[in-house]
Symmetry: C2
């Protein structure tokens, strides 16, 4: 395997000049650059990445901690983050934490080893009380989601309240007045379920409609399709009239749609349904599902951008350090077959 010294000898220049050419240092004469490049090609030289990382102290690898890739939302988020990172020449080391506290604590320790320059972290088991763990990490961290907040780290998240509110308003605008909320959780306070419920109730209140607890569908273990069907069944069994459904994620919505259809209710004629997350499944369900695109791609792009900026700041500490930001991605309602046209 050829080394940089071999290339230098072959091209008749110093090792450092080869290094300069390969790392894009601007002050290299064109003729030199070409000669070096020719030698690189002739010898089939490829730079030793590990030596580069070791010496420069930067790996170009960022960590990504998510609970589980098998869950479509996180799988799709990971795809977006990987794509964004790749556009900037960064690689991504994924650390699934399995919804466990230990897994998440371990993920926070990973970067100290040195292989990873920074971390994008989507907690699910750590809670607000653990926020102090994020304070003095010694490496750049970008937080995702609504599990915990801290003024000392950058945070990228979505407009949960606005999204759920818009979803509810879409149904209200179509004249629906008996709108169920599917996906209530007992355990949460600041989490997504609570925020999405807040958006739902705000929309109703704005129209002077009181929240009817019979319309709240509880899904206590997890936001899976089966729980959506069960929660929908509970609501329908209560005897309350339902002409719209806001589900707190797409899997719940698909389960709810199943239950509605099983009972002979037509979607969207009898009941309009809106999900949340815009996972790929919602484009292929039957009927296709109106949902809230929480800006997953934007979240991925912004998270990677912020991390890159922090890594740059680290390199030249001269520049003014921007204080941590809280970024809310733009939310967008994606209308498909499961909702009626808006009344005009």
């Amino acid at each position: 395997m050829a080394t940089m010294a071999d290339v230098a000898r072959h091209a008749g220049v110093s090792v450092k000049t080869v290094s300069n050419v390969l790392s894009g240092y601007p002050h290299v004469r064109d003729a030199t650059r070409e000669r070096v490049q020719a030698s690189v090609d002739a010898l089939g030289y490829e730079i030793n990445v590990t030596a580069k990382i070791f010496r420069s102290g930067r790996s170009g690898v960022v960590g990504l901690s998510v609970p589980e890739l098998g869950q479509p939302y996180f799988g799709e988020l990971a795809d977006e983050i990987l794509a964004a990172a790749r556009r900037h020449g960064l690689q991504v080391l994924i650390e699934p934490t399995g919804f466990t506290r230990d897994g998440e604590l371990a993920a926070l320790r990973v970067p100290r080893g040195g292989l990873v320059d920074g971390l994008i972290f989507s907690p699910a088991a750590l809670v607000q009380a653990d926020a102090h763990l994020l304070d003095e990490l010694g490496y750049p961290l970008v937080l995702l989601g609504e599990q915990m907040f801290s003024s000392s780290v950058d945070h990228v998240t979505m407009r949960n309240i606005d999204g759920a509110q818009a979803a509810t308003e879409l149904l209200l605008d179509a004249g629906r007045r008996h709108i169920a909320a599917i996906g209530m959780l007992h355990a949460e306070t600041a989490g997504s379920a609570w925020l999405r419920y807040t958006g739902y109730s705000k929309a109703l209140e704005a129209r002077g409609i009181e929240v009817d607890t019979r319309l709240l569908g509880w899904a206590d273990d997890a936001w899976h399709r089966g729980n959506g069907a069960r929660a929908m069944a509970d609501v329908l069994d209560s005897g309350v009239r339902v002409d719209g459904v806001v589900a707190f994620n797409d899997a719940l919505a698909i389960g709810a749609m199943y239950e509605l259809q099983a009972r002979g209710l037509a979607i969207p004629q009898d009941v309009g349904v809106v999900g949340f997350d815009d996972i790929e499944d919602s484009r292929y369900s039957v009927p296709t599902l109106t949902t809230v695109d929480p800006g997953r791609r934007e979240i991925a792009n912004v998270a990677v951008d912020i991390l890159r900026r922090r890594l740059q700041e680290l390199r030249r500490p001269s520049a003014e350090q921007v204080s941590p930001v809280l970024y809310l991605a733009g939310m967008r309602l994606v209308e498909r077959e499961s909702t009626p046209r808006r009344a005009r």
Copy 2:
């Protein structure tokens, strides 16, 4: 940040002894080991991973190339591989290839850089004619799936034929005789669709039933839920009688179930349905879906084990090199609500 030299000074031993302690070298006196460990703790020393990788030439990182994590099968596979790797102290760098030829070619080039010791590769765009690309890679590669085969690399895959055959037999055993196959693809020859179709037709032939082309549901772009519903509709529209469905993956099966139920057919009373892959969704669909577990966890474990063995061989070339293996994971039928009990 403390270095190994600091620890050595603090413990009154040589740097190499510290290194020996930390890397588990057996011939170290207990007293020495304890003294070193105490110094490590006292100084809060953490080994510089990049220096270790650089000098040792091994990173402990393996690459994983899959088309897309957003697809539940691959997301879940990635979770399993990550878990298996972590159990052996390996980290995983994921490279989604986006179903593109370029993406897959790029993934094959990655390890040459040095950050990755070996690669687990699940091709989707490369075809059999590209198999020669795998011949002289210069690093250990484990191939997954049915897209291409090569006698020069290790390969871990699943019992597609047996699985589809068992799925079909399950329906036959329950007395069904008009079994549709959902998910036929034109473009494939050695791919999963063809193999699963082969299992389907073998099962029928074994009972002396001829394949009825009206029962074949074509899903040409991709195995998504919507295509499953459409293919199912095509079959039903042909007027042929249907009392069973073998879908070539779970998403297709869920789509097919939708279409059947929309037409008033009861599952499993009127029509039994079997999927393939055992993705988590199949446990939460309504009704829950009988499916073929292709041994995803086993595939992950075996792939990681094989890769580890190859990496060890690389370290001490003395040992006898085992020639490349083709491993077929054990398949298992998971019976759920969507199939009738077997006739006895």
